[in-house]
Amino acid sequence: MPDDSPSLSKYELAARKQQTRRNLLLCSPALIVLLLAASGPLLVMLFYSFLKSGNYGGVIYEFSLDGWLNVFLVRDIFDDVLKVADAHLSVFWRSIKLSAMTTFTCLVIGFPTAYFIATRPRESRNFWLFLITIPFWTNLLIRTFAILELIRNNGIVNNLLTDLHIIEQPIQMMYTDFAIMIGMTYVYLPLMILPLYASMEKLDFRLVEAAYDLYATRIRVLRKVIIPLIKPGIVAGSILVFIPSLGAFVTPRVLGGGKNLMLGNLIELQFGQGRNWPLGAALSITLLFIVMATLLLYVRYSQKGGVQHEQ
């Protein structure tokens, strides 16, 4: 990426080098902490994925590819035939589907909310922002149980609807995919709203005004002016919601009844009752690759967009 084009003067080159050094210096404290407590330990996992599984959890220090093989292929326990691990694939697919739906719902609800906050008078914006985060001061489990209380068959929503004679029989909401969606949206909503707000707050409303002056409709203004300007916020929010929901397992278990595994549960099973650490390690690194690839695409895409925007 460094462009050593001959047209640059020595002075400019030195200035650039200095800038790069400054950048690296600024990043290094964060990188050191992450190396110690996030990326470094992950190397341990990579190493473990190539080892043999210990009898009762843990690993035996012998090289083996079984962990990786088992991600996509399983030896059938009944007739010893190697076949595609369809159970793993369907868990992958379910997790991706539910996470995408959650991200979308968060965006649909979070965008107007962030917009609403960003258009409040300056001095009251922080207040609204705090209002968003306050519910999240209470523990995740407690919040999830409270949602359960709302949507139970004899819960408040169903009782209210039957008392108002809108429905005859309680609607089964608890233990459905709908419940998981509601729950995950609830849990991850601030992760969408806060980055959206951070970009919207900067939004130059003169541009919006100018668009109106040119007789653009509201939808057009939204699509052609507002959304492109706050794209970094949308990208950041979507990443923050999508990726953690891929690995979520408390909400699916409590609200969805835990009948179907999510990726997080599948990996946890291997490190827990399943006692197959290498498979657990291989599964998580597979997940990491998928996410990383998507993310890199995003970065490339948003950088290109950024350059065009500047010109």
Partner: protein, 273 residues
Amino acid sequence: MSSSIVSPKKLFSIYKLPGFTFIAITCFVMLYAPIMILVGYSFNEGSSLALWEGLSLRWYYSAWQNEAVKDATLLSLIIALQASLYSTVLATMAALGTTRTRAYRGQTAIYAMINQPLMVPEIVTAVALLIVFATIKQATGYQGLSFLVIAHTAFCVPFAYLPIRARLEDMDRSLEIAAADLYATPWRCFRRVTLPLLLPGILAGAMLAFVISLDDVVITEFVKSAGQDTLPTFMLGQIRRVITPEMNAIASALLAVSVLMVSLIFLINRKKT
């Protein structure tokens, strides 16, 4: 719809998009409905989360009496405060080093590394940290809180980083350039110009980090040493039996404190302006 834009009230209407306010209000109602329930049930006489048996302060009293609950709450707050502070500082620096700059070698790698805690399910980081930290704990004999603070700081960094970066990316350079032209030192320029402009992003990042740290279960469960139960791990231990209504009481009390804090900040801000 389009008739309103030529109306004289145009300046006000540009802020409003149809349906947005309605969705926003609905969103706030939705956010607070479960919270109202949990506050309500914290005053329940019975030990159930599902059956109302009358008004009582019993669970507040018993939570206050319960040393384990008090210790866990205090520890959760201490860790969350430290982790959110450290991670926000680190994330702000990293954001300054990765945005609004000419692309340099390794920038993508740095970006990937900062966001890495987001991409790995917690259980994986947890098991890996257990192995690494256990080795350190054995070698040094030190088993203090720092391990938890470092682990929390690490996974809070991306949560703090993304809003700050988003804010920074949209920020106008011209003010800073003007300041530099007026011979402000880089540090002065940063403090007087960049930082104030960046503050909403930093605030959003810090709040996210705080909340994320406060909620963490899995990593804490694997990193904690003897006597280091936080509120979430304390609750995790109860999940197979009964989650006592003491938890509702604690949650409501924390909520009351945070509401009080917010109101105070709000009032102070008001006086200033």
